[in-house]
């Protein structure tokens, strides 16, 4: 079996490992390009650049442009979800409000949950990772570029499908987790819940595909020298998140296909009269549901671990403990889904196990928080907007965390389940644990995306409006929840006494909307008139700051060699790199899993329209399946042709590639 091993021996890299915690340089110095480098840069731009015009845009497989589209689309859905939240708060701002009828309201709150969870939270974290992870590990592109494009197009088609149905009065109206039998064939006539079931399929495919790419990129495309203990914490967080996606999402993808089958071809998965069980749906959904909220939260932890070193001028304290905590959180998240079902008639015995698991999962997150606080204590901290949002994370998330531990107890959960106490908990954890770190990440990496800085003044306004708005909007909900206000009610009677606190909560929602408008203004204003940012405006330690802002299409002219956990801080006066990758073909380096030694060169596929065609075929397949089961057959034939032309090697491209290789290495 040794025939296939590389001809040339592994390269002796004259690299010695630097003291583990290098000191952050005061002033950041950019690399000076020689004439030869300028020449190489032109060739690389020509090879890696996207073709011009719309056709080029549609065929693009560059992870930078795909990830940018992904993030912008996710933020558009965030805006739509926010509008829906605004409508909900308007309707609930006073008792017996006739602003929205029950049918419209059920569609709006279901679309709010579905949009925020499936079309914003997971996709934006995954999209941010698709942009940053390849750069942070020192790779030129994500592992499977065409698959990356396919994932984005499927996500876009899913999002458009559900919102077109919303306009056609066919948005799902059974809650973002569509409990059967209400979402079943008998009690949800029409095509509303079918739309939800197919949306799940689209967003699952997109997330699974992205998770596969992130894992393979981190395992096989790391820069030479980046051994496992030198992988940045953000990248560790994204690897853990990707494994959670791989293991959790098939559960809901299969479950939603069961639900669609029950509704279309009369199967009996959830029909208790024919042996099915509605609790089977809850198990299938929440086995995915709880890891899902950690899939949204763990990237937030990763973002904070990426931001804290830059603003405290020292690496995060306790790297091994942090990685262990991330992995533990990933594993434990699969062991506590039944705490969503404490009030259902399942045996009491199992519930105390899930109480223990739900309580203990707070430990890894707690340890991480203490490590960050220790890092802040030991560092010289500068409070720019990203760091403000990190402090906001501490303030808001910990309230959500402790209420989470409260509802972990079976006894208390019987009072709090499905009330506004849980609504308060989930908003504190999601806004605190995901949106605040996300906004911190946007303020931190915006210079890298666009080459311009977001304005600090607007940033501070945005932060203070948000943190006040979140607390004013969601803290009263704790009290409302324990005063009997249940979830998903479109109105309530005046004598319930919930009016005043709901009015306060609605006022808070207005503050949040104003805060997000300030963010949007800051975003669009800075795009053109923000302060221009160099390669590394914040003096970050990880490799994404070694590229220009915004990065060129080839990202790294030479692949950097990593000597420590903070590569950019241990560079000294020269950047050690590896040369020899071809510039006439999209050439990338594949390295070994443990110590990232160069193993072989891998040519990244050229841009192609077929991922889009495959996504359209997938769309035709699943959308027509809503109306007729035969749609699946037609769609799969179309998908076959799309995948065939996607994978079939292009003769000219192959010839050019092989011509450049000598016989030894071909």
């Amino acid at each position: 079996m040794t025939v296939a091993r590389g001809v040339a021996p592994l390269l002796p890299l004259e690299v010695e490992t630097v003291r583990p915690d290098p000191v952050a340089p005061q002033v950041w110095e950019e690399v000076e390009l020689t004439d030869a480098d300028q020449e190489l840069r032109k060739e690389l731009l020509d090879t890696w650049g996207d073709n011009p015009g719309l056709w080029g845009w549609l065929r693009s497989t560059s992870h930078l442009s795909i990830a940018k589209r992904y993030i912008i689309t996710a933020f558009l859905f965030f805006g739509l979800g926010g509008l829906e939240a605004g409508l909900i708060r308007l309707q609930l701002s006073q008792p017996e409000n006739s602003f929205i009828g029950p049918d419209r309201y059920n569609q709006i709150f279901t679309m709010h949950g579905t949009t925020m969870m499936f079309l914003f939270a997971v996709p934006v974290m995954v999209a941010l990772a698709l942009y940053l992870v390849p750069m942070m590990v020192g790779a030129r592109d994500v592992a499977f570029p065409r698959l990356n494009a396919y994932g984005y197009w499927v996500y876009l088609i899913g999002g458009l499908f559900v919102y077109v149905q919303f306009l056609l009065n066919t948005a799902p109206d059974a809650g973002w987790f569509s409990y059967v039998p209400l979402a079943g064939p008998e009690f949800s006539p029409g095509k509303r819940v079918d739309t939800w079931a197919q949306l799940i399929t689209f967003t699952e495919i997109a997330a699974l595909v992205a998770a596969t790419e992130i894992i393979v990129t981190v395992f096989k495309h790391r820069a030479p020298g980046m051994s496992l203990n030198r992988i940045p914490l953000y990248v560790w967080a994204m690897v853990v998140t990707s494994f959670m996606i791989i293991f959790a999402m098939p559960s809901v993808a299969t479950g939603s296909q069961f639900l669609a089958a029950d509704r279309l071809i009369d199967t009996h998965f959830f029909n208790h009269a024919e042996g099915g069980d509605s609790l089977l749906w809850q198990h299938l959904f929440w086995f995915f549901g709880h890891p899902e909220v950690y899939i949204i939260f763990v990237p937030g932890l990763g973002i904070i671990s990426a931001i804290v070193p830059a603003f405290t001028r020292r690496p995060v304290f306790g790297y091994p403990v942090m990685v262990l905590a991330l992995v533990t959180t990933g594993f434990m998240s699969f062991g506590l889904w039944v705490h969503h079902m404490f009030t259902t008639p399942i045996p009491q015995l199992g519930q105390s196990f899930f109480t223990a698991a739900s309580t203990m999962i707070a430990i890894p997150t707690g340890v991480q928080i203490f490590c960050w606080i220790a890092t802040i204590w030991a560092g010289r901290t500068r409070f720019a907007t990203p760091m403000l949002f990190v402090i906001g994370f501490f303030v808001v998330f910990i309230i959500g965390g402790v209420t989470g531990v409260m509802v972990a107890s079976v006894a208390f959960d019987q009072q709090a389940h499905d009330t506004y106490f849980v609504v308060a908990h989930l908003h504190y954890v999601l806004l605190g644990g995901a949106v605040f770190p996300l906004l911190a990440g946007v303020y931190y990496w915006f210079p890298k995306f666009t080459g311009r800085m977001l304005s600090e003044r607007l940033g501070k306004w945005n932060f203070w409006l948000l943190i006040i708005g979140v607390n004013v909007a969601f803290f009263p909900m704790h009290i409302l929840g324990l005063e009997g206000m249940t979830r998903r009610i479109y109105t309530y009677l005046p004598e319930t006494g919930w009016g005043p606190l709901n009015a306060v909560s609605s006022a808070g929602a207005v503050i949040i909307v104003v805060g997000m408008v300030v963010f949007a203004i800051n975003f669009f204003w800075s795009l053109r008139r923000g302060k221009t940012a160099g390669e590394n405006p914040w003096g970050g330690e990880t490799l994404e700051w070694a590229t220009s802002s915004p990065p060129e299409s080839y990202v790294f002219m030479y692949l950097p060699v990593v000597k420590s956990r903070a590569p950019l801080w241990s560079e000294g006066s020269e950047r050690v790199v590896v040369g020899g990758l071809r510039s006439d073909v999209r050439d990338t380096l594949t390295t070994t899993l443990m110590d990232a030694e160069p193993d072989h060169r891998q040519s990244s596929p050229a841009p192609s329209i077929w991922p889009l065609m495959a996504a359209v075929a997938t769309g035709v397949m699943f959308i027509s399946a809503v109306f007729t089961p035969w749609g699946l057959v037609v769609g799969s034939v179309l998908l076959f042709f799309a995948l065939f032309f996607w994978g079939w090697p292009d003769k000219a491209d192959q010839a050019k590639r092989l011509a450049g290789e000598s016989e030894a290495t071909a």
């Binding site: 009065n169 066919t170 071809i265 029909n271």
Partner: protein
Amino acid sequence: MKRAGVRAVVAAGVAGALVLSSCERENRGYGEEPAGNPADAASLTPLQPGPTIRVTAGRGPYDENAYKVNEGKFLYSAMNCVGCHANGGGGMGPALMDENWIYGSDPRQIFSSIAQGRPNGMPAWGTRLSNDQIWRLVGYVRSMSGQLRKDVAPTRSDDMFYGPSEQRAKELTPKNATGATER
């Protein structure tokens, strides 16, 4: 240029039809009463004095509305129509899922069959059910023999399974008592 224009118009028409059809299918229409007075129900038999006037095929108000037809299915079991008609296969009462219509297959004729009652035991539901409820039953009865669109007809119910649901029923062209096809 003209052909492109035509194609654009056709595309817009198809898109419009799609929009209208799904809007109507999902319209819950709480509290809306069907317009028109059912009293002018079509006559029971095609026989009429003088020159024969083509009876235009009428449309029930809920033929496009999945929610109302599904509520009709609820009423079908709640009002114990199952007792005589079974789940459409017939028993004491005639079968409802086949192509034979003794008293006419026009929605207004079905309406009057339910409202006025028919010989051999069909009770008069006119005083016991509101017009809206009877029109829902008319919609459901027509879906049993595949008269309604596939995406409007109800699917299985959470009870014992008696056979393919109305959504998967084959479309049968209705015949009246004399065996001649109605339309």
